[in-house]
Symmetry: C2
Subunit: 156 residues, 2 copies
């Protein structure tokens, strides 16, 4: 599967989940280290004309989940990816489209993650995600840990 | 406004926000100390047949926000309520409808909150929310802080 196929598969995957399909999320970019998602404000606007807090968390959660999923695939592995915990700070109201970016946490390391997942069938990884304001400063940021668990191979 | 009117107004308020309208959230109960919300799994199901992480956070965020909003009203005040930060732990996958309950954090105190909001025009409050598994144990739990800011009165 080419990278482009992987990104299209990821978008289709998002769209297959009812609560995510209504979020109008698209992949805005991926460079191997960071995954960027876009969602229109109109689908996420709250009573104050800004982005709903739950939507901000959801888009960041999806971005970080998507990044882990892509890295699992790139390592040639097949695993379920789950979010384990997250901490979110809402810094400023967002009155524009949601632009989320997920990256590995500063202390993290993708090779250790892939090796652990290959050898033990299970690995944890810490990620950071943020949603920017139009001027580049931070609207909302999240630290979250994800767990990947290898799927049993279909043909033994 | 009677309590029943307040609860109906809260549901209408939820429904007025596009990202919340699609969540099919209803008020399941309110006793002054805890607000319970319900949302059907079918609107929140992910690729694994369980509730999507973003949905779990969104429903808990709405429950806690709704509880603060109701307490502001009961204190006879008019304020905007914002979520400031939250920490979520995903303990077990949920394969049933979402039943969320928000309560005041153990260290919190509604009278102090209302007095501070009345006197200073702004107050913070810490809440706990959880979503239960059908057996009563915890699927997901959240600690979050909310800020209320008094609206300028329309008629001076």
């Amino acid at each position: 599967m080419t990278l482009d196929d992987s990104l299209r598969a990821l978008e289709a995957y998002y769209g297959s989940m009812p609560p995510v399909a209504v979020m109008d999320v698209s992949v805005a970019g991926y460079d191997g280290d960071s995954l960027r998602l876009h969602a229109p404000l109109s689908s996420h606007v709250n009573d104050k004309g800004s982005a709903f807090g739950g939507s901000l968390v959801s888009v960041m959660t999806l971005a970080a989940w998507g990044l882990v999923t892509l890295r699992v695939e790139q390592a040639g592995l097949d695993a379920e990816v789950y979010v384990a915990d997250s901490t979110v700070r809402y810094r400023a109201p967002l009155l524009a489209d949601l632009q989320a970016e997920a990256t590995l946490d500063a202390a993290g390391d993708w090779s250790t993650f892939a090796r652990t997942l290959r050898e033990r069938g299970r690995a944890r990884v810490a990620l950071t995600a943020r949603i920017a304001l139009p001027d580049g400063s931070t609207a909302t940021e999240m630290q979250a840990r994800y767990v990947a668990i290898r799927r049993p191979t279909a043909n033994v």
